[in-house]
Amino acid sequence: MMEIELNQKQTNSTPRSAPAMSDIKSTSDNLDSFFKPAIKQDESLHGLSRPSLSYWQDAWIRLKKDKKAISSLFLVSFILAFSLLGPLFWTVDPNEQNLNMISQGPSFGSEAIIANREMLGELIVDENIPEEPLEEILPLAATESLEVLGTANTVGVHLKWQAVPGAYNYTIYRNEMEPTSISELGVPLFTTEYANELSYIDSLQLEAIPYWYSIVATDGVDEAMTYTSIQVTPKLAYSLDQARAISNDYKLGDSISIGAHPFGTDQLGRDVMARLMTGGRISFFIGFFAPLLYILFGTLYGGIAGFVGGRVDGWMMRFSDFVVALPFLLFMILSYIAFGAGPGESGIVPMMATMVALLWPATARLVRGQVLQLREEGFTQAAQLLGASSWYILLRHMIPNTIGVILVTLTFAIPSAIFTEAFLSFIGMGVAPPNASWGVMSNEGIATMLNTPHELIFPAIFISLTVLSFNLLGDGLRDALDARMRSRE
């Protein structure tokens, strides 16, 4: 309309005022022809328009941009696949004990020899030396040579040393770290009786790890101030009996190949990787199903409270306030006992039952709030005015608008359930040994933490990584699904 009017009124009027800036003048000649109404494309008025996306498409696009969330998603999938599909490829029995392989570090397959004590030779007693020295020589020197006779293996290590003049007998020490002074030698392994005993076979709980053996001469009462050390790494060896237990064909001197243990073995010689897999199944089972159940219940409860409203809502929320105030862990322990799960019995059922019974109110509160808010929204009221049934409003408006919040809650509930399982198993009220769970494994690992930290560290890493990635995924989902809940990470 305006432009048409303008067209009709085009006349050459006298200038009221000249342009103030000089830069226009310089180009004004070229501009003369452009003083006519512009024909505008429609888009210029409304700016750019984007293709419309559904809620989920939009959320997915946003989630994909979140590097932390996506790498967490991959990590979760990986750990899940490890636990669920892993046992198909790694068929080692998680409960099989191998007492020859106690607390071994990670290994990718090795060989063991079959040995016995006799193969290490006889103890050496030098007949040329008297049982007691004839004269006193002080101070005592360190032995000039210390060597290993035969092949050192976990059945025995045969040490031989050269006599020290004036020594009454010798003390043998074994350390797992290189001693740097005589004070670090610690408790003796063995002390010879006579001065002419010049060798010793150590067969005390040997493992295939490096040891430092030290020899100190004594004058019968006090030790010399010097020592001689040698580093020995025994080869893994089976006794003939142990080998025969596997196959009757084995004879002394044969080699046995030992399976790989990528995560090592525990203090009962069980394969840690196989146990991590079965433990993961239990952790994920509890981690998924407990939250699924209590979130479902909480959603229904909160949904009904919010939808019905009024006095019913008031009472329902008062009850949920009451449940919130109950200390969760105490009830866990109570139900563990009440279910008759004595010490050493599995607490999975009471664990799930307590989680479902006590953890729903948070979800109920959240969903109720959401439903109450949605009831006040224009589109819900509009639907009501248009005569839509309660069911229609529930299905069309309430559920689609709350599902995002519920999904985010679920993502955060999973790590907290896994956490709870680990905690309870750790204090002996969850999954009971010999069944594996990450919490049980951590608990067992702590006992041997100082010598073989891998038994604690691997399950601890699995718990932490799983919880970490679910937390990060939850953050990402929350940001992606609802800009209003956006955190500022």
């Binding site: 009027s13 009221r16 342009p19 226009i24 501009l31 003083f35 006519k36 512009a38 700016g47």
Partner: protein, 338 residues
């Protein structure tokens, strides 16, 4: 007659670095404020009004903000180049500021009296007690009943209107030369709006203070302002006295704003006409006239080159090709929508 200018802003340009790129929020703004007078700055949200004021106050966070050019002289003192410490001593003392939403503009956990007293303690070096007494006097001056009792109350115990009075008391505590009022009545009820505007006018006369009244409400401008600058997309597109802006609107945007404003006149009730479309994206502002896309009078030239200012009266100027000698004469501009 030489005008007594308190604040003189020239060619102010402000940019912000954001994830999406550089936003040119203010693109060369000029205005002057006379002593004891009120300048109304009008424009829709996002047009750069508030950023302009924050630059003058030294409140632009840098980075991401950046003042790329311009001067702002407060009684000869260059505000844009002072040290942060000096800028701080000017804020609250030489320039007071009041904000849109009184409810969120006060610290919720500090008593009103103490919040006002703070200003006096910092700028005047008053003792705590003296400052508190002065705060009570100031509350009384802004016509808050029972000021003594009110001073020891918390913001949530105040109504919106009362709180805005307290904020005015706070902004005027040190008798500033200039008060910047950023939409001071937008969040208030209409009756309360009237009272607040009356109060501001009264206090202005008492202290001979200048006011910059930022608003998108032309009614407020008509009541309060002596001079008016209309901003659009980070630029002043028309400025002049209140009468010139209202009765000789020379920019299509000003006309559009006026058409969108309800008039309380039963005989002459005209239909409200909204301005179609939305302001341009300031990530990449148009090379030529920023209003081109929404302008009902647009010419081809408007999309080719940015218009410069045309002086229409002594203080009245507009930034529009319609004011160019070569433009087709258009009576609509002055007559059609009065």
């Amino acid at each position: 007659m030489a005008k007594d200018i308190v604040l003189d802003v020239k060619d102010l340009k402000v940019e912000f670095d954001t994830y999406g790129g550089v936003v040119k929020a203010v693109r060369g703004v000029d205005f002057q404020v006379e002593r004891g007078k009120t300048l109304g700055i009008v424009g829709e949200s996002g047009c750069g009004k508030s950023v302009t004021m924050q630059s003058i106050m030294g409140l632009i966070p840098m980075p991401p903000g950046r003042i790329t050019s311009g001067t702002a002289k407060l009684d000869g003192l260059e505000l844009l180049k002072v040290s942060p410490e000096k800028a701080r001593s000017i804020r609250g003392k030489e320039i007071g500021m009041i904000f849109q939403d009184p409810m969120s503009s006060m610290n919720p956990t500090m008593k009103i009296g103490k919040q006002i007293a703070e200003t006096l303690i910092v700028h005047r070096g008053y003792s705590e007690e003296k400052a508190l007494n002065e705060a009570k006097r100031l509350l009384d001056r802004t016509k808050i009943p029972e000021a003594h009792k009110r001073a020891s109350q918390f913001p949530f115990e105040f109504s919106g209107g009362m709180l805005q009075r307290a904020i005015i008391a706070m902004a005027l505590a040190c008798k500033p030369k200039l008060l910047i009022a950023d939409e001071p009545t937008t969040a208030l009820d209409v009756t309360i709006q009237e009272q607040i505007l009356d109060l501001l006018k009264e206090l202005q006369t008492e202290d001979n203070m200048s006011i910059i009244m930022i608003t998108h409400d032309l009614g407020v401008v008509a009541r309060m302002a002596d001079q008016v600058s209309v901003m659009y997309a980070g630029q002043v597109i028309e400025s002049g006295s209140v009468d010139e802006i209202f009765y000789k609107s020379s920019h299509p945007y000003t006309i559009g704003l006026r058409q969108a404003m309800p008039v309380n006149d039963e005989q002459n009730s005209t239909k409200l006409i909204p301005i179609e479309g939305s302001p341009p994206d300031l990530f990449s502002p148009p090379k030529a006239c920023a209003y081109y896309a929404r302008c009902p009078y647009a010419m081809e030239v408007c999309n080719k080159q940015d218009p410069s200012y045309t002086m229409i009266g002594e203080t009245h100027r507009a930034k529009c090709w319609m004011q160019d000698a070569r433009a087709p004469k258009n009576d609509d501009l002055h007559q059609a929508h009065l």
